[in-house]
Symmetry: C2
Subunit: 120 residues, 2 copies
């Protein structure tokens, strides 16, 4: 089962993601009503997902939830899991990532990044 | 293999999390230097992870990355995956969640939530 990840859970405990560096980026578009720009950014992220150190990724948009504490103002969410900080650092300078920034950075006006590691 | 989730990847494409509702909460502590309060919040989140609709979770703290776009000001990150928005809504009113809020909400001064669904 090379290339296959197995995550086991039982009925009483949910699965905890351990040994995982979580890199979560939220993008706000310059042209917030442009469907074209939105699609360009999403297409760029799909290409970016080819970076070898990425273990899992999720490309998202705001859900339709709407409590006071929920920020729904961003256009696109880019959630990436790495095994560790070294792999995340390598991703930052990966040619595929540099190409993504070159091709797509004109699309956004604001980015917030949260880099998170497991509490000990 | 009941209770076991298998995610398959090959060598040329990373794993994309599909059909996933991502609920990501960042907490800022009222007493930001209190290790006790930090540990109470983490312990509360571990209990909260028992909610049945949660598929996977990650309890985190800021990594040691430090670029301008990175927000490292929060104390704890609570990342949860649900299968869909219905499961997330059910989590909000789950007795385990209500108990968590009752026991732990005095610990934090600010919360930001990002609820994200897959782009189509």
């Amino acid at each position: 089962m090379s290339g296959t990840l197995i995550l086991a859970a039982n009925n009483t405990k949910q699965m905890e993601l351990k040994n995982t560096f979580v890199h979560h980026v939220y993008f706000w578009l310059k042209n917030k009503d442009s469907k074209d720009d939105l699609n360009k950014l999403i297409a760029g992220l799909r290409k970016l997902s080819a970076v070898k150190t990425i273990k899992q990724f999720h490309i998202g948009k705001p859900a339709d939830t709407n409590r006071d504490v929920i920020d729904t103002s961003y256009a696109v969410s880019w959630l990436v899991f790495f095994d560790n900080g070294t792999d995340q650092a390598s991703y930052q300078t990966d040619p595929v990532h540099l190409k993504f920034v070159e091709e797509c950075s004109s699309l956004w006006t604001k980015v917030i990044v949260y880099d998170t590691v497991n509490v000990s």
